[in-house]
Subunit: 199 residues, 2 copies
């Protein structure tokens, strides 16, 4: 994510000028609006209104709603970063690519923790569940599924496999899963994901 | 679970006699001790001490620590109920039996909610995670795996698949997973579980 210089866009009346962290204020507003409205119904305009800035300023910092969501939730990637990675390369290796990508992203605490935090809040809070469901379905799973022609139910089964493994490995700390070598997990899980994508 | 008549076992000095709900008090003590010590380190003796009753009285109500845990967490089954069901019948149908059992238990709110509550607390509380991990590993997964000779990592991958599907279906409410027909899910998931058990 780029960090553009301050000062793009007009400010509304009443907005204090030259705020030191306009981007941070937009993200705080985004977190509030996503939590209240869910991912689908949140709009750039609504987030700008909440942050008391012009919508053009929001667009100046964030290209898309997906990118703003990823930044607001401190996710280590945007859907635009990962969807193409999953789609490129041979179709018969898509299972392995997905398993490697998810195990890679979750292997480092710095990239894993924001994801786990988002999942945790979705587990325990209905609004967070709506927000997470809409984001993961519409911005990630269905993007991949529709471009390679996999039924939504099958990509959700694949998502379930990886969700359960990540929770078992990092949140529940099941052994030997928690200490298993990444290559061993790729060998075990890639054929499962591949089978869902081949159906 | 049987509901024996009151009054088995001696009571310690200081324990008020003829409590109307001795079983309920033992279960409250069990919840406290399991949360503090985890499943492995909790003992019938320690739970009896916490409840201020004789260990024989605890045994009068609950045959095993596993049964006491299931009752304390209001689970719809004990490991002794389900492990044999999974083990009987043809080996080549074990995947389907597991998927049907888990979808069946979770299809009714009354039996699903205590399970989801246990998983939720394990997601958000480290002590609850230890307790859940030890119970699910030692009283359920490894019992099944060791009796049919499946490596622990493979049964944990199968557990991950079913955990993720149940969370996606009932907690996140992913569609079409949440509304999918049980038979359709059996057809989709049973080969995955079977493959882990065949390895």
């Amino acid at each position: 994510m780029t960090e553009p210089s301050q000062g793009g866009g007009r400010r509304r009346p009443g907005r204090r000028p030259g705020s030191a962290d306009t981007r941070g204020e937009i993200l705080a507003a985004a977190r509030k609006v996503f939590a209240e409205k869910g991912f689908d119904k949140a709009t750039v305009r609504g987030i700008a209104r909440e942050a008391q800035v012009d919508p053009a300023l929001v667009h100046h910092y964030f290209d898309t709603k997906e990118g703003m969501f990823a930044a607001a939730m401190r996710l280590p990637f945007t859907p635009q970063d990962i969807v193409p990675v999953l789609l490129e390369g041979p179709r018969e290796e898509v299972g392995e690519r997905i398993v490697r990508l998810i195990l890679g992203v979750t292997s480092e605490p710095g990239t894993r923790e924001p994801l786990v935090a988002l999942i945790r809040s979705a587990m325990t809070n209905e609004r967070a569940a709506v927000m997470f469901r809409e984001f993961i379905s519409n911005a990630v799973l269905f993007q991949v599924a529709d471009r390679i022609g996999v039924p939504h139910l099958r990509i959700e089964a694949a998502f379930g496999q990886m969700l359960g493994v990540i929770l078992g490995r990092y949140v529940l700390g099941l052994e030997p899963l928690a200490s298993a070598d990444e290559e061993e997990l790729v060998e075990l899980l890639a054929p499962t994901i591949q089978r869902y994508f081949a159906g």
